[in-house]
Symmetry: C2
Subunit: 253 residues, 2 copies
C-alpha cells in the first residue's frame, strides 16, 4: 500500500468551497486520498464541485470533526503550516525538507498535514497540537499563499519525495559517435553538392554545423531524421542535375 494513503490533509475551519474543491483536485493530482475538515463553514458546494473537477470522490469521502484534536487523534506526526513568525514557527522547515520525514512517519501511523483558515491560518492553540511546522518558501513582499496553493506545494513535495512519479523517459537512446559521424558525413557531402561551402573550407564550416546540431542531446531518432534530411536533399539535387545538364553552363556549380 502506498504511504501516501496514510497522509491526511486536515483543513481547519475552511471558509470557501472553491478552495476545498481545489484541494480535492490537488490531492488527486498528487496521490493523496484522506481529507478531514474541522468545523467547516457553510461551504459553497457548487463551487467546490466545479473546482474539484474529476476529484469529487475525495470530497464525498471526507470526514468531519468538531476539533483539530479529534481530527488528528490517531496520528503520530502532525505537521502544521504557517507563515507567521512566533515561538513554534522558528522551528519551521520547508515542505521539501520535511517531506521525507512525513513519509517515514507514515509507515507507522497516520500523518496529518494541517492547514488553517484562509484569513487567519492556524491559531496558536491549533499549533500546540502540531509536532512539526512547515514554512512554505515565498517572498517577503507577499508571503501569504492562497490555501489551495499552499496545499499544492506541500502535497507536490510529498508526492515527489514518495518517488511514485515515473518521469516519461526519452524513448530513443543517445546517438553513439559512429552514427553521429555518419550523419555529419552525409551533411558534408550534401552541403558540398549544393555549393554551400567549398571543399577546402569544409572542415572549418562543419565545425560550426556540428556545434549547432550537437549543442543539445542528439538521440538515435534525432540523428535518423537529420540523415533523412541530408539524404533527401542530396537525392533531389542529383535528380535535378541529371535533367538540367545546362543549369550551370559556366561551370560555377
Amino acid at each position: 500500500m502506498s504511504l501516501l494513503n496514510n497522509i491526511r490533509v486536515v483543513l481547519v475551519n475552511p471558509l470557501y468551497g472553491g478552495n476545498v474543491g481545489s484541494i480535492c483536485r490537488v490531492m488527486a493530482n498528487t496521490g493523496l486520498k484522506q481529507l478531514a475538515l474541522v468545523t467547516p463553514s457553510n461551504l459553497n458546494l457548487q463551487e467546490a464541485r466545479m473546482l474539484a473537477c474529476n476529484a469529487w470522490s475525495i470530497f464525498e469521502q471526507h470526514r468531519e470533526f468538531a476539533t483539530l484534536a479529534e481530527a488528528v487523534a490517531d496520528c503520530g506526526l502532525v505537521a502544521g503550516t504557517s507563515v507567521r513568525p512566533g515561538l513554534y514557527r522558528a522551528h519551521a522547515r520547508s515542505p521539501r525538507e520535511w517531506a521525507p520525514t512525513l513519509l517515514e512517519a507514515a509507515r507507522k501511523a497516520p500523518v496529518a498535514l494541517v492547514f488553517g483558515r484562509e484569513d487567519n491560518g492556524l491559531s496558536n492553540e491549533d499549533l500546540t497540537l502540531c509536532t512539526h511546522f512547515i514554512r512554505i518558501p515565498s517572498t517577503p513582499e507577499y508571503s501569504s499563499l492562497n490555501l489551495a496553493q499552499a496545499a499544492m506545494i506541500c502535497c507536490y513535495e510529498i508526492y515527489l519525495a514518495s518517488n511514485e512519479f515515473v518521469p516519461g523517459a526519452e524513448k530513443s537512446p543517445e546517438a553513439p559517435a559512429e552514427l553521429r559521424e555518419r550523419m555529419f558525413a552525409m551533411w558534408e557531402e550534401t552541403l558540398l553538392a549544393v555549393g554551400f561551402m567549398e571543399r577546402e573550407k569544409a572542415l572549418h564550416m562543419m565545425l560550426g554545423i556540428r556545434r549547432i546540431f550537437a549543442r543539445g542531446l542528439l538521440t538515435v531518432d534525432d540523428v535518423k531524421i537529420l540523415m533523412g534530411m541530408a539524404r533527401q536533399m542530396r537525392w533531389k539535387i542529383d535528380r535535378l542535375a541529371e535533367h538540367a545538364p545546362d543549369a550551370f553552363p559556366d561551370g560555377t556549380e
Copy 2:
C-alpha cells in the same frame, strides 16, 4: 537586478478571471512580475481581483498580445507546459530539472514560461514556438492540474532555484554538551528530591529521561527552559519541606 524580473509568465487564451487572478498572487508569492496574456477570453475581472488579493498590481501591469509568437518575440528560452504525450513532449522534463536552465537563460534575454488554455492546454502550433517542454509530476490517475496550480509549481521551483528565499534560521544555537549535562544534573537532583527515583536507580532512569529530552535538536534556549523548570520545582519542594517538617513523619521521603 533579480533574474526573476526577466521571467515572463505567458497565458495563452485563458478563460477564467479567477485563474488569472490566482496566478498574479502566485507570481507575487514567488518574485515574478511580468504577466503576458495572449487573446484572453472576456475575463471575469471581479473574480480575478478577488483571487489576486494583494497582487492586483501585477494584473494592472500585464501586457496583451494577439499571438503567442508576439508575446515571446524578444525571448530566448521559451518553456511550454504540457501533460499530453506527443512528439515534442517526450523531451519534457520536470520544473525542478529545468528551473536552473531557465534562470541561467534569464541572464541574457527574457525567458517565457507558457501555459495553455484551461481546457485544452497548449496546441501543437503553440508548442512549436517552445524551446523547452515542462511536464509537472502528477499521478497517472489524474494528471491534469488546474492552471493556477500548474503555474504555482513552476513559479515555486524557479523561485527556489533562484536562491532568493532565505529560510528563517533557528535563532538559538544547538546546546553544547557541557550546558546539556548541567541541565541533566539539575533534573537528576530534582527527580531525586521529589522521590521520582531512588539514588541507586538514578543512572538507569536518567538514561530514559536523556533519550526523551535529547531525541530532537536541543538548542541553548531549550536547555535554559528545561533548567528553569527543574530549578523552580526544586525550589518549591525545598520551601514546602521547610514549612512542613512533619509531612513525611515516617521518613519515607
